[in-house]
């Protein structure tokens, strides 16, 4: 009887504190980082019906789209050629980024994988992310975060296939403090680092190399998670790499 009372008490406490997500729908944005500036058609369907069909240019990060929770089929095409297909669950209140990366081959099979990529997915599941020989792949990032007060979160994702790993130095413009997020290698995402909201400048260098690839000032607002995608720049741009950024709010 004592155990039942304890159970009910804790249950009531938990129930009273229940967080009801303001929007039960899932939010999903798309980052299109296919190499060589390939435009891509992305089709998202549920129960056989297309709910999104858009062509996106390379280097684009969209705003969040709202989706009812469920399991979706995601297809990626280059013109009429299917490149990728994947089923992904979008949970209620979930917030995600769908990243498209890699360089398509002229007449490649759908979901073409290297043996290493196949084996890593076999044994590691969702955590088994590899370079996949720079072939196209779809990555789903979880944009949920936990931050309090005036803190802000930043993370980097190297989407520049074939490039050396990149170090990012973060300087606070007011206090002159420094932080480094080092060895961001393709196509892995860094840990989320917490900073005070404010103005910063990022300096990108190749890991271990002295030369500066890119310097960029940023303004970070509190209680937001900023994701910086390091991508290859277009042919007509001066620098080798550029940063595409997007912020998320729970």
């Amino acid at each position: 009887m004592r155990y039942v009372i304890c159970f009910l008490t804790v249950w009531v406490c938990f129930s009273a504190c229940k967080n009801k997500p303001s929007d039960e729908n899932a939010r999903l944005r798309i980052g299109q980082f296919l190499g060589y500036n390939n435009p891509a058609i992305i089709i998202i369907s549920k129960d056989g019906k297309d709910v999104l069909r858009e062509e996106y240019r390379a280097g684009l990060l969209t705003h969040y789209h709202s989706f009812s929770p469920g399991i979706y089929r995601i297809r990626v095409l280059r013109k009429a050629q299917p490149l990728l297909e994947k089923k992904v669950g979008l949970g209620p209140g979930g917030i995600y980024t769908l990243c498209l990366t890699g360089t398509p081959l002229p007449a490649q099979d759908i979901n073409k994988q290297t043996v290493r990529d196949q084996l890593m997915h076999l044994v590691e599941g969702a955590a088994g992310i590899t370079k996949n020989g720079y072939l196209p792949q779809l990555l789903v990032l979880n944009d949920y975060f936990s931050l309090t007060g005036k803190n802000t979160g930043i993370r980097f994702l190297n989407m520049a296939e074939g490039m050396e790993p990149v170090d990012v130095e973060i300087k606070d413009s007011n206090a002159d403090s420094k932080m480094e997020i080092s060895h961001n290698s393709y196509p892995l995402i860094s840990n989320v680092e917490t900073l005070q909201a404010g103005k910063y400048s990022f300096t990108l260098t190749y890991s271990g190399g002295p030369g500066i690839i890119l310097e960029q000032p940023v303004h970070l607002e509190p209680r937001k998670l900023y994701t910086f995608f390091i991508t290859g720049a277009c042919d007509n741009e001066k620098q080798v790499l550029k940063l595409v950024s997007g912020s998320s709010k729970n």
Partner: protein, 421 residues
């Protein structure tokens, strides 16, 4: 009569066995297993639960047969297999060190998350909790059975409520939220990676002489405790994932249950889960450190380890063992990665349980199918784990195999040297 009262009754044995398993297990392994098995996570816990149940049977069967405390090492000594006993005991000690490091790692992450502590805080907390428990053990405080039972009860209650609440919000999409659904067979690989979540029950075999009427109570109580934990793990795996979503559990694997509680119940839920995790992991570190140090002493007294390890302080505590084991675990907790520590420990415990099941199979005349089932499922799980390590962490696997080789070759040399001096 007074002596009988000071012994562990069935409820205490049940609580210590269940708490020994849940103490650090579910807090640390959930994110690792959800990444591998997604919607089949519950199946992973069921498959490895079969090994745990059959091994629990074998441990009790052998403890009752030999009327001896000391677990696998004592059983092998009883059947005069001194070589395997010595090598396995060394391996087992490494397994316990890894286990303590996983618990300390979890403690650091869970507590630091509650106040948004930095990476430095995580390391300080992980090392700090081990340092405090080393000091308490050296002071002779040792195993706090009553305190442990209170912590276990509160911890189990929090997990049962979390699981029940999650199940009441039934939504199967959450099991694959933000990830790709996984095939059925992934349940086997997932289970292989986190087997250490079940190891805690066998610490009771070191307390055999403290159990009241063990021939009567030990078998049913331990089997019920293990079965309870198997079901609890399956329910927590499904319930917590339904509250938090698979992607969040994977992204925050070090603090998965706190993030789930925060997402579902806000700060109050997070604080309750942090308290449960903090107390559960520290109790698990304490009992594992205490039992391992005493095991080390008894192994040293039987000349299977250098006599240095049997040294005791004024409180009759094996001080050198406690300090060495604790420091090693703290270093691993501060420097290691979660899945590497968990998988290395899992491999060692799969080997140990395999040996115990094999001994039980050899020594028993009836119900031989139970240890045989444990051997079969354990072998399949072990092969899955070796396959996973060979692909994803070949260097770590190489290091483990080298360590085993060093133990097999180096132990006889050290023992000879020890004997001649």
């Amino acid at each position: 009569m007074a002596e009988d009262k000071s012994k562990l009754g069935p409820v205490q044995v049940w609580a210590l066995a269940a708490g020994g398993m849940v103490g650090g297990g579910i807090y640390t392994v959930l994110g690792v297993i959800v990444a591998i098995s997604a919607q089949w996570t519950w199946l992973s816990f069921l498959i490895t639960g079969i090994i745990a149940l059959t091994s629990a049977y074998s441990y009790v069967f052998l403890s009752n047969k030999f009327k001896e405390k000391g677990g696998a090492f004592a059983f092998l000594e009883e059947v005069n297999d001194h070589k395997i006993a010595g090598s396995l005991s060394w391996l087992l000690i490494i397994g316990y060190v890894l286990t303590i490091s996983v618990y300390a790692y979890a403690f650091g992450h869970y507590v630091a998350f509650a106040f948004h502590g930095s990476a430095l805080w995580i390391r300080l907390l992980a090392a700090g909790v081990v340092a405090i428990l080393i000091a308490l053990n050296l002071a002779g405080v040792g195993k706090l059975t009553t305190v442990e039972i209170i912590i276990v009860s509160a911890n189990l209650l929090a997990l049962v409520v979390l699981a029940a609440y999650g199940l009441s919000q039934w939504d199967t999409t959450q099991l694959v939220a933000g990830i790709e659904p996984r095939p059925l067979w992934s349940g086997m690989i997932g289970g292989a990676a986190i087997f250490m979540a079940y190891e805690g029950f066998q610490l009771l075999s070191y307390e055999y002489d403290r159990i009241r009427k063990p021939e009567k109570y030990f078998m049913p109580v331990l089997l019920v405790a293990v079965a309870f934990v198997v079901i609890l793990y399956m329910l927590v795996a499904v319930g917590a994932t339904m509250l938090g979503g698979a992607a969040s559990i994977i992204s925050f694997k070090q603090i998965a249950l706190s993030v789930v509680a925060q997402k579902a119940f806000g700060s109050v839920g997070m604080i309750i889960m942090t308290l449960a995790a903090g107390f559960a992991t520290s109790a698990a570190i304490n009992s594992t450190l205490f039992s391992t140090a005493n095991l080390t002493r008894s192994i040293a007294e039987k000349n299977e380890l250098p006599a240095w390890f049997s040294h005791t302080n004024g409180n009759d505590v094996p001080d050198r063992s406690i300090i060495l084991l604790g420091v090693l675990a703290a270093v691993l907790a501060v420097t290691g990665s979660l899945s590497s520590l968990v998988e290395a420990a899992s491999l060692i415990f799969l080997c140990t349980f395999g040996v115990v099941n094999w001994l039980a199979y050899r020594e028993s005349h009836k119900r031989k199918w139970i240890p045989l089932l444990g051997i079969a499922v354990g072998a399949a799980t072990g092969i899955s784990l070796l396959f996973r390590l060979a692909i994803s962490k070949p260097i770590a696997l190489g290091g483990m195999l080298l360590l085993v080789l060093l133990i097999l070759l180096g132990r006889p040399y050290l023992i000879r040297k020890n004997g001649s001096s």
